[in-house]
């Protein structure tokens, strides 16, 4: 990954898919600029672009449009999100990263807060 900024994140296909899916589910007001800022920080933390992260976790199946979930990669990203959350002391930041991955088809199941 080369240097990444909010503009680069915004233009990624996976980010457009994320925002569109969020809007469809929760309405237009669910999206705001701070989401992109947080995701950009997560990308820097992971050392990956948004599309690279999704490609790490999903590989195309034999039938064209279908996707196979890479179990090990998904688990690594779940741990990475937890580290990002801890480093920022912010559950909300972690959930932004999870939201991005979830809406791209990568199931995330963090433990609940107790």
């Amino acid at each position: 990954m080369t240097g990444i900024d909010v503009a680069g994140v915004r233009s990624a296909e996976s980010v457009r898919r994320w925002l569109s899916s969020r809007q469809e589910l929760w309405g237009a007001r669910s999206n705001n600029e701070s989401l992109l800022e947080t995701l950009t920080r997560f990308c820097a933390f992971a050392g990956k672009t948004p599309d690279e992260m999704v490609d790490d976790c999903l590989k195309p199946g034999k039938a064209g449009e279908t996707l196979m979930l890479r179990t090990r990669a998904r688990r690594q990203y779940m741990e990475l999100v937890e580290q990002f959350e801890a480093a920022n002391a912010s559950r909300d930041d972690g959930n932004v990263a999870r939201s991005f991955l979830i809406h791209n088809g990568i199931a995330m199941n963090p433990g609940i807060l107790t």
Partner: protein
């Protein structure tokens, strides 16, 4: 009726009043309860056909009988034939006519969503090809289905709550296929025979069961789940746990009911 008492009143009823019909409205209640039973991926695995004894010919009734259900077929006024639709998963995936996991509707209504890690893309591009579609090529598979059984169980409780008596028993699959014209992809679950009871509400007492601790365990399979006697007493008071069979007068009741219905009965020798 109170829920606990309804559960406690469950009997495999063997003696129906053959001349007393079951109201069609009550049959609908049973079906409504079954329709709302819990089911995997919200798919309609359970199917049921209602048949009325007096609308069938004697020859058709004979085709439905097994040794377990012969008297029930003759005396119960309504039969519900419960089936597992082996094709339901394929229909849910390929036709997407109903709100199932495959249709994506469960994400739309907020039943499964981002809090559980689910999204439309996850359903359409991962769950469908990886979880729901594998095995479809093999065609319909027999082997029962818990969800169809759950629908039947929920319908059974509704029947009791409506004041009916019921008995679950197997029916002749080939005969039923001929009489009821069921698709090849429907696998029988059980017949639910319905009517008004010819014997008393206690009907011989609650059917015996193995000891609670021999059936249920805690943490691991070698540790029986120990009953709390206070809970047991509360359930006795609520009618869930009732006097076990047989009640002292059961033998006389069976003879009297058998005589009334013209069934074989053995009189006590003088």
């Amino acid at each position: 009726m109170d829920f606990y008492r309804t559960v406690g009143n469950q009997r495999a009823e063997q003696y129906f009043l053959p001349w007393r019909p079951v109201e069609r409205q009550k049959v609908q209640v049973i079906l409504e309860a079954g329709r709302l039973a819990s089911r995997a991926v919200n798919t309609a695995f359970a199917k049921a056909i209602v048949a009325y004894r007096d609308s069938l010919t004697a020859a058709e009734r004979e085709k439905l009988k097994t040794p377990f259900s012969a008297v029930l077929v003759d005396t119960a006024s309504v039969y519900l034939f419960w089936y597992h639709d082996m094709d339901a998963r394929r229909v849910a995936i390929e036709e997407r006519k109903w709100p199932t996991v495959a249709s994506g509707a469960l994400v739309d209504i907020g039943a499964l969503g981002p809090p559980h890690g689910w999204s439309h893309r996850y359903v359409q591009n991962v769950v469908l090809p990886e979880v729901l579609m594998p095995g479809l090529d093999a065609g319909p598979q027999r082997g029962g289905n818990a969800d169809a059984g759950l629908a039947m169980a929920q319908g059974l409780l509704a029947a009791l709550d409506e004041g009916l008596a019921a008995c679950l028993a197997p029916f002749d699959e080939a005969g039923a296929k001929e009489v009821l014209r069921t698709p090849d992809t429907w696998e029988p679950v059980m017949g639910m025979f319905l009517g008004y009871p010819a014997d008393s509400a206690e009907a011989g007492g609650q059917e015996p069961r193995p000891p609670f601790e021999s059936m249920f365990f805690e943490q691991h399979a070698s540790e029986p789940f120990a009953r709390d006697e206070q809970v047991t007493k509360r359930l006795e008071g609520a009618g869930l746990i009732q006097r076990p069979a047989p009640v002292p007068w059961r033998e006389k009741e069976v003879r009297a009911v058998s005589r009334m219905l013209g069934l074989p009965h053995e009189e006590a020798q003088p």
